[in-house]
């Protein structure tokens, strides 16, 4: 569920009326697209804050809080984190996802082998003798987005599962199919809930976030001193410190990850024309409901780029109108 980057690019070019007003290059589009995606993404949280204070209708599809939550849910993550040196201090998922700065890897070729089994397991990126093949660890695979292309076409998630660094197809892929794996690490954006489980049959407890000033008061008060059944944490310097200090494992975090930047990539066709290359591109991750607003926002910036006040004005009006409608 995403917004196709090629659809957006072609629509923007169409509206810009490239023959008459100007042209937006793929590089410009990719940068402006990333900017607009982040702008819309950030408005989700402010809008949610506004809508949550307004009585909602619970009629299907009309509850704005639910609709917003649906948009945000694309970016919701839940992960177990480990402490630093068995202490009560834990790293954020960011450090895990990046795993020492692992960046996006596009084009890890996975060996296509013809096997007779009903399902076939491929190891991501392990191709003997293939130039440019890269590898990732199981932790990186778990904390990243992996896309698999067969002969250049995206294979849907429903056709396989990623287990560790293995791709398990539910049914045998076509013999001779060239599999290409793209890996994008998930980037931490905003911390949600922290949960603690002592393991076994102990119930999971929600940790309360406190600031440094509150912490001292809470630790001093016998009635509210944190316990294993009502733990608290501070969030400082990209680290989580849990109280009581005896807790050094069993922490899970929900968080919002940052949308991955869109990318419209191409191959040079005949006559040096740009031909869309799906296997090296990445779609907008926003909810399809935001496609119109996304195109309008890109147009707004495009108007600035090509110095067309008319485009800027029309796009700005449309964006403003849409915002009014959403908040009315």
């Amino acid at each position: 569920m995403a917004i196709n980057v090629n659809t957006v690019y072609q629509t923007v070019l169409l509206i810009l009326n490239k023959e008459q007003r100007g042209y937006m290059t793929p590089v410009e589009f990719n940068k402006i697209g990333a900017q607009c995606q982040l702008e819309i993404f950030e408005t989700y949280f402010d809008s949610l804050n506004q809508q949550i204070r307004i009585p909602q209708t619970n009629t299907d599809y009309a509850d704005r809080v639910v609709n917003l939550d649906e948009k945000i849910s694309i970016f919701k993550e839940f992960i177990n984190v480990t402490s630093i040196s068995s202490s009560n201090v834990f790293n954020l998922p960011q450090q895990i996802g990046h795993n020492n700065g692992k960046t996006s890897v596009i084009g890890m070729v996975t060996a296509p082998t013809a096997t007779a089994g009903g399902t076939t397991q491929y190891v991501i990126g392990t191709v003997g003798g293939v130039v440019g093949a890269d590898t990732i660890t199981a932790a990186q695979a778990q904390n990243g987005i992996i896309q698999i292309f067969g002969n250049g076409s995206l294979i849907t998630d429903a056709e396989y599962a990623i287990n560790g660094i293995n791709i398990d197809f539910y049914s045998q892929p076509t013999t001779g199919l060239t599999l290409l794996t793209n890996y994008y690490p998930k980037q931490f954006y905003r911390l949600g809930q922290a949960l603690y489980s002592a393991g076994g049959t102990k119930p999971t407890e929600e940790l309360q976030r406190v600031d440094r000033g509150e912490l001292y008061h809470l630790l001093s008060s016998k009635l509210t001193a944190p316990t294993a059944s009502s733990p608290i944490y501070t969030y400082e310097n990209n680290q989580i410190t849990i109280y009581p200090t005896t807790i050094n494992s069993g922490l899970s975090l929900s968080y919002i990850r940052k949308p991955i930047n869109p990318s419209w990539n191409f191959t040079l066709g005949s006559g040096q024309s740009y031909s869309f290359n799906e296997s090296s591109s990445f779609n907008f991750e926003l909810h399809p409901a935001d496609q119109t607003e996304l195109i309008l926002k890109i147009l707004l910036y495009a108007g600035v780029v090509i110095r067309s006040p008319e485009i800027v004005q029309v796009a700005a009006q449309q964006v403003a109108q849409e915002n009014i409608n959403q908040q009315r």
């Binding site: 002592a198 076994g200 049959t201 102990k202 406190v210 509150e214 009635l223 509210t224 009502s230």
Partner: protein, 477 residues
Amino acid sequence: MPIPNGGLITETNRQYYAGSQQFTSDGNANQTFTSTFNTDLVVGTGNYSDPATNGYNLNNFKIFTSPNASVWTELTPANTDVDALSSGASNAGQTNLTIVANTAATGGNVFAVVNKSTGFNYGTIASKTNNGGVDTLVMSQNLPVGGVPDNTQLSIRRVTTWTMSSPNIITIPQLLALNSYVKIQLNENTLDNVHGDYEYTRLDDVINNFLIAYVGPGKLISSVKRTDVIFHARRGLQEFSYDTLKSVKSSELTVPNSLSLTIPQDYVNYVKLSWVDELGVLHTIYPTNNLNQSPYYTFSQDGDGNPIQDSNDSNTEVTSQINAAWDKANPRYISGGFKNDLNNANVLDRSVYSSALGQRYGLEPQTSQKNGWFKIDQRTGTFNFTSNLANKLILLQYISDGNAYDLDARIPKLAEEALYSYITHAILSVSSGVQEYIVRRFKQEKSAKLRNAKIRLSNLKLDQVIQVMRGKSKWIK
């Protein structure tokens, strides 16, 4: 309904009444057994599966095995013993111990070697080397003085018979026979704490329920910190403990010759002190009130009456003369004469002459009793009794605040709603931007629900009232 079926009860009848949960072995080593008791399983430190360790004494349960679910054997190291025989003499001061080849002995410090007759533990088996009919065991420690003589009867004993690495999940490392039975049995005092537990709701549950039902968007309390709810819930429990909840704390004590007893650790206030007669009937011991009071300070004084200080500028003190006078006082002199002490409530144990004594005209009712008095010495934190109570068995009934121990942190279900109202009002009354009429509304609701709780907990039963009222028309001759 002996089997839980989706209601609030999650324990089977067997778990609740007998305190045991039974499992079947799958015939594999390292099988895990998950306890579903409402009570968490607790283990001590060290090798807590071994009754020889102190850690075992801290466990709140035992593990049993049985081939037929009828005859049960506790799963302890001693019950895993396999006979072995030393082969040749093994010298003292070395780690090598030779035994007749025995398949039960393996290395890795999983098994220990024990002298079968004396029970002496030679340590664990670090490694084993087989050489024909003889096994050479390398022990974890040197053999003791005297070594191990030839043909000594030994036992190969598993060191750890079960572990609890995750809360409430028991792992048994050794292989148990397929379809044999394993039982987790709670200790008796643990089980006692569980019985009657359905009458209460845990404070943690109250806090979670409150956050679910009373807090959120569109509600009067749109958001609140969990620690705030914890604070108000605990404060509410304290308040309820003082004047609403049943007083359940009591101690059976004997008054020593010193006539003083230390106040219980979780004491907040007393409900009643009574001495117990031979029939077990309680006789109320009254507070001294204005008869006597222990002094807080007992300064030594100079000629001008000023306190005297020592070299550290602290006031020096002397033994209280008030206490001394009270301790040696005969309560009969205060209460009025009576000839014989009546040691029980047996109405037939009174002669005409002795029971008539003490019936003076114009008695002072508050001192006209023979049960004795107590006073509280706030400085030393003790109950002090009159001399007639020395060596008497007494019952001290008192109230705590519901926060002293984990087991106390619960509220009777009859007062649960009152606690929710208490928390709601407490939060709304300190929140900014809440209209005063709303605060007042919840104040009234809190009071009404507290009143309901008090009526419910007062336990007035119609048949008991009738029984009492039957005496109303009795003729007074």
